[in-house]
Structure formats: structure tokens, C-alpha cells
Symmetry: none
Subunit: 192 residues, 4 copies
């Protein structure tokens, strides 16, 4: 699956992202994907196992890129806890605005329940945020008895805000409000 033209492979993935973002899986025809990518229908099968394989590749590679993006934003591990959390949020929101279709598909969560590679990515992403909180707990900056829960909250929040954005919400406001609530919510001394 590494032969052939990687650029064309990516074009197919891009086309698929646009279509899967706009319609649920079963309403996207491979004919449409081929037309959107301006290739023949059979060509898809040179690059992907089948329709589900294409969908999974899209999500897997998107998830992997998202993890990398968040990791890159948080890269300075010595940084302050709040900086690291802000970086994580920035990474998530930045990814969502740079690849809105892909993010939409990834977050719709269909078909992906039990793919091991995806579960690994999900745990990796959660791990990045959890670790920041745990470090904060140890450093005495935060006092969060349920870091996993807070992590899910951050991820769900960004998801919700990006998929169903309230009227007039900017990325900056979203980021700011999330950080405010988060800071107040789990800081050691309730911000006092």
C-alpha cells in the first residue's frame, strides 16, 4: 500500500474527507469520491482495500496528524501547566480550523469504535492532556482528582464547540473561555 503515487493517494483522502464531512458514511458513494478526486472508480481500489478501508485510513491518518499537532504545540515539557494545557487546546482548535472537514469526520465517531490503531491514537492524545494535569497535581499547581474525566471534558468541549458553534463565537473566545473555566475549575487554591 506504499507503492503508487502518494500525492494521488492524498488527493483521494482529501476528496473523501470533503464528502464524509458533508454526508454520513452510507450516503457517500464511491462514484462520488472518484468524481470528487477526478479519478476512475477503480483507482480507489489501488490505494485502499475497500470503502471502509478508505474511511479508516482517513480517520487513522487524521488522528495521527492531530496527535502530532498537539504534541508539537506542547513540546516544551518544562513549561508551566497552564501553558501546556493552553498549548493543547491551541493544538486542537488549530487543527480543527486548518482541517475542518477532516476534523468533522474524525469527531463524528462512526465506524471507529474498535480499531486498535485508533484506540492507541486516542489514548495517546488523552495521555498528553492527562499528563499535563497530573504533572500539575504533582507540582501543586492543580488539584484534580479525575484527570481522565477533565481530559474527556476538554476533548468533548472542543468537539462540541467546533461541530455546533454558538452564534458569533471566535476561536480566540472559545480558547479563552475554556481556559478560564479550566483554570478556575482545577487550580489548587481556587484561584485565590
Amino acid at each position: 500500500m506504499q507503492r503508487l503515487d502518494p500525492a494521488k493517494r492524498q488527493e483521494i483522502l482529501d476528496a473523501a474527507a470533503r464528502l464524509f464531512a458533508a454526508r454520513p458514511f452510507h450516503e457517500v458513494r464511491l462514484d462520488d469520491v472518484a468524481a470528487e478526486a477526478r479519478i476512475g472508480k477503480g483507482t480507489i481500489y489501488l490505494y485502499f482495500e475497500d470503502k471502509e478501508g478508505l474511511y479508516l485510513s482517513l480517520i487513522r491518518e487524521g488522528m495521527s496528524r492531530l496527535v502530532n499537532a498537539v504534541e508539537a504545540q506542547m513540546e516544551n515539557p518544562c513549561a508551566d501547566v497552564w501553558d501546556r494545557l493552553a498549548a493543547a487546546v491551541e493544538g486542537l482548535i488549530g487543527f480543527a480550523s486548518r482541517f475542518p472537514d477532516l476534523f468533522r469526520v474524525m469527531r463524528s465517531g462512526a465506524l471507529t469504535a474498535d480499531d486498535p490503531e485508533l484506540q492507541r491514537s486516542r489514548r495517546e492524545l488523552s495521555g498528553l492532556i492527562e499528563r499535563a494535569i497530573r504533572d500539575g497535581n504533582e507540582a501543586g499547581q492543580t488539584a484534580d482528582p479525575w484527570p481522565e474525566l477533565t481530559t474527556q471534558f476538554v476533548l468533548s468541549f472542543v468537539r462540541g464547540a467546533v461541530l455546533y458553534p454558538p452564534e458569533g463565537l471566535t476561536a480566540a473566545t472559545l480558547r479563552h473561555h475554556l481556559m478560564v473555566v479550566l483554570r478556575r475549575g482545577i487550580a489548587k487554591e481556587a484561584s485565590a
Copy 2:
């Protein structure tokens, strides 16, 4: 479409909830639904327009029940803001634990983007929580510049916890933790 045996109709919905919770829409066959509900396949068409109609009914009625549950919990409008928010959270979590399959389907968000009735329900649910926060703002108990976002936060928190529950999380713990974070996050005093 509303006559016939309401109990049988509900059995079909229950069966559908179980299956749609476990698999994406296009992997659930009406044959499966009929078998799960122990009725003939044709019977589904006596109670529902078609497959999508069944799915929409499931979500619509679930959403409507959820709104009612939350509303019932919050019914005393004069109550303290925190009591009202706690009641809302109680309503959400209670519903999610009583109807886990249904909640899972409702929160997966597939196929439901543009149904007007659903949008109304969603706004109604959000409205209940938003109104409590706005009342809190006016009463000087809370100081939240973005009630809609905070509402989204509450819903996301429950969603994340229910769909991807951390090991060993109980409903009581979830409720408690959410209320702690919420209180710290938007209480007036906290920003004093």
C-alpha cells in the same frame, strides 16, 4: 402513524436503540431490528415511515424525554442557582444511566444535523441550563460572560464521561466533580 399498539411501537424503538448504539446506522439492517424486537419485518412499516423515520423517531422521542426529565428535575424555578444546575446535571446523568443505549445513539449525532424538531429540542435543553446561569448572573450568584459556552461545557462533560467513561467512575462521582468544577468556574465570588 400514531394508532396501533403503543407497547409494540416502543418495543421496536427499544430494539432499535440497542442496535443503533452498537453499530453505525448503515450496519443496522431492518431485518436485525425486526429480529431483535421479535416481530416481522413488515410490521416496522406499520409503525414507522421508513428506516430513517425509525431512527429519527428514536432520537426525537429520546430527546423529548431527556428535556422532560431535566425540566422535571429543575421544576422549582425559584430555587437557588446551584440547586437548579445540580438538578439539571442530575437530570442528564440520570437519563444517561437509565437509558444508556438511547443516550449513546442521541449523542453520536449521526444523521440528525438538520431536523427542525430536533433543533428545537436541543435549543430547549440548552435553554434550561442557560436560563439558570443567566438568572444566576442577574442574581449576582454567578458571573459568566458566555452562558451558551458554559452550557455546551456541561453537556460535553456528561457526553464525554458517558461515552468514554474512565475506569471506576460512578454517577455520583461524576455529578460531584462536574458541580465542583462548574461552581469554581463561574461563581461570582471566584472572580472577586
Copy 3:
């Protein structure tokens, strides 16, 4: 696979026999089978797994009927060796003329190499003829050092004569000539 209407199942098999007899497997479309059987295309899948399953069922059941036909012809086990062999040949030729399409498909031998049920039937059919020859050997009527080989010869001969019949050949002549050659070929005292 035993539910549904067995008569309709047989009609599908009959239609398939006609088409598979006239064209090789890959040139027979399920559309054609459905049209020939005057049913909808999907109905085939109610009665058979898939195209190959239909083909296999056709051959398996044909083979089973052929074995029964030959067995029935030979049913008197005390009979003279030559009578039994003549009966076997009669059974083969009779089956071939009663079900020419089916026989043609069965003998074309495509796709059937490694089906266990078919191998069993084939062995059973061979066994009937072999046993007659071995009994003949023991009774001192025949002296055939290779009963299996002779059995294959009988089967191949009938196959060849039926699939590629020489100009002007009648079933009676075929039967007569085969028996003459066979009798002379393996009788104990070379007919002396």
C-alpha cells in the same frame, strides 16, 4: 436453506442447469438465471448463498441423483456381473438422456475439484462399478487387475460419447458397443 418454496428452488436449479449447460460459468449472469427462472434477481439469494453456491448445489444434487439412479438400476446385488455392469451403464446413459443439461454441467467439471461432498459422491459412483468388477473377479467371471482404471474408463467413455456424440450414434448402440468391449476386455477367459 430448507425454508421457502422447494418447488421454486428447483425451478431456479432447472434454469441454472439450462444456462450453465450452454455457456461456461463466467458467461452466465445471475440476471440471466433470474430471467430464465422468471423471478427477481434477489430471490436467488434467498435460496442460495451466492453464484458459486448455486452452481455447487446444482452439481451436488445432480451427482446425488445420478448415484441414486445408478444404484437403483443395479439394485439386485445377486445379479450376474455383466447384468450389473450393463445396469450401471444403463443408469448412466439413462440419466444423461433424461437430464442432458444437468449431465453436461456435471461432466464439464469446472469449479468442483475440491468439494468434499462431491468427492464423496464421485467415490460412491465409482464404488458401485468397482464393486461389481471386484465381485466378478472373485466369482471368477472377470479377471481385471485394475478395476479402478476400468471404472474410470466406463465413466469417461459415457461422458465423451454423450458430450461429443459421433454422428448417428444411438444410445442403444453406445450401450451395446461399450458392453461388448468391456466384456471382451475383462472377462476371465478371453470370451473363449
Copy 4:
């Protein structure tokens, strides 16, 4: 279509023989043939019209070689009838053991019913054996009322033995047994 490298053409035919011997026509992909012959898929089309053309060439040329082989064995026309028949049998069995795959494909009889060139070859092959028997009849060595059927018998005998060989059968035994049965079956004296 006859230029290009004859050795490569033969390699393709050999690869095709191996594959067509193991699987029915429609299960052999040109991809497989190309891989087996270690050439590019497009190259096949330089040497053959299309897939069916390749298959027909394989059988035609195999049949032609078989006829030549049998002809060569029988080349002394003045020889004794039994010697000529033994030579024919020797030619058939020798060919079958030297080219088992090719023989298997040729004898499976798929797709070749109405090719004129093949029919000519078939008649030629039959003719060689028939002529020997007719000469034997005229010379008073044999007394066979149905030389065509006897020819069919010889061909069937070899076919059956090669396609479904009994345990432990050698070419020599096969040849010997066939000649014994044949001699008894149609010798003049035998009917005296």
C-alpha cells in the same frame, strides 16, 4: 502477432497452462498469469489478442503438438495394426506425462466447443487412431464395427486415467492394461 520473442511467448503459455490447470478459466486473472510468467501484464497483450485468445492459443497449440506427437510415434504406416495402436497410445500417454498441466487444460474441455481449428485437430487425432483400426479391419486383424467409438474409448481411457489416476498407477501399467483390453476388445480372433 507471431513476431516478438518466441521464447517469451512460450513462457507465457507455460505459465497459463499451470494456472488454467489448477483453476477454472474465470478464476485465473491475467495478473496471475503475468506474475507467474514474471512479466508485466501489458506484455501479454503484445503476444495475444486477449484472455480468451491466450486460452485458445494454449489449447490449439497443445492439441497441435499432441497430434504431431502421436503422428510421429505412428509414423511407419506399414507397421502392424497393434504396433500402430500401441504407438498411438504411447504418444498420448507420453504427451500426458510430459505436459501434465497442458493435458489437463486440454481435456477439461471448457470454452473450446466450437473453435474450428480445434475441431480440425480433434478430428485429425481421432482420424489417426480410426485409420489404424480401419486398416486393421481391412487387413483382417481386427473386427470392429464402430471404429469411431473405439477411438473415443482409447481417448477416454487415457483421459480418465490421467485426470483421476488410481493410486499407484504408472504410465507403463496404464499402457499395458489399455492395450490388453483393446486387443481383446476388437481383435478378429476374439470374435471367431
